[in-house]
């Protein structure tokens, strides 16, 4: 069975500082990993995905993530955050026709 653990429920950070949101996963077969962002009262928007190939994946809004098979991790990073990055971030693994999501990390960017 697949599972996703987001290690930080809340991450406060100052504007223009770097940030890392941590995600560990378990999956019994081939791994397809995703990061989504959810703004208040909205659905989820895809930030980036890892399907195969290069372990460093670049996404929208300046985010990137690194797939680490040995550590079963897929951490999300951004070198300099903006106020507008304040949102809920979800890591997900896809397997057997369904996606399993973590419980989310609330990123709060302070001025």
């Amino acid at each position: 069975a697949q599972s996703v653990t987001q290690l930080d429920s809340q991450v406060p950070v100052f504007e223009e500082a770097p940030v890392e949101l941590r995600c560990n996963y378990s999956s019994s077969v081939s791994v397809y990993l995703f990061w989504y962002v959810q703004y208040p009262n909205q659905g989820l928007q895809l930030l980036l995905k890892y399907l195969s190939g290069s372990t460093l994946v670049k996404g929208i809004n300046g985010f990137e993530a690194e797939f680490n098979k040995s550590q079963t991790s897929f951490h999300l990073r951004k070198p300099s955050v903006h106020i507008s990055d304040t949102a809920e971030y979800f890591c997900a693994v896809s397997d057997a026709g369904k996606s399993t999501f973590g419980d989310g990390t609330t990123l709060t960017v302070k001025p």
Binding site: V4, S30, Y32, F34, Y36, N41, Q42, G43, L44, Q45, L46, K49, L51, F90, A92, S94, D95, A96, G97, K98, S99, T100, F101, G102, D103, G104
Partner: protein, 114 residues
């Protein structure tokens, strides 16, 4: 192009009632999935439909059912509503069913049970 659209946006029901939620996928997308998102948690998988057939089912009771129509739109039905069914219900579409397919989400239907 229009994204995934869900209706209604908000709904209030009482215990024991039945509810139908609707979803229209992005044009050209043939797969629709439904998720339940309880406050403070990530989305939980309920169903996936592809080409009008159920392709996956999450760990939800039989009170939950769904179907997909020839135009690929979908309905989620929940019978005998319980207080614990209060949640944001999200619909997501993808071109085809597959583990490597990113999903495109609608803004959800917020269901409140009194």
């Amino acid at each position: 192009d229009a994204g995934v659209t869900q209706s209604p946006t908000h709904l209030i029901k009482t215990r024991g009632q039945q509810v139908t939620l609707r979803c229209s996928p992005i044009s050209g997308h043939k797969s629709v999935s439904w998720y339940q998102q309880v406050l403070g948690q990530g989305p939980q998988f309920i169903f996936q439909y592809y080409e009008k057939e159920e392709r996956g089912r999450g760990n939800f009771p039989d009170r939950f059912s769904a179907r997909q129509f020839p135009n690929y739109s979908s309905e989620l039905n929940v019978n005998a509503l319980l207080l614990g069914d209060s949640a944001l219900y999200l619909c997501a579409s993808s071109l085809v069913a597959g583990n490597n397919q990113p999903q495109h989400f609608g803004d959800g239907t917020r269901l409140s049970i009194l």
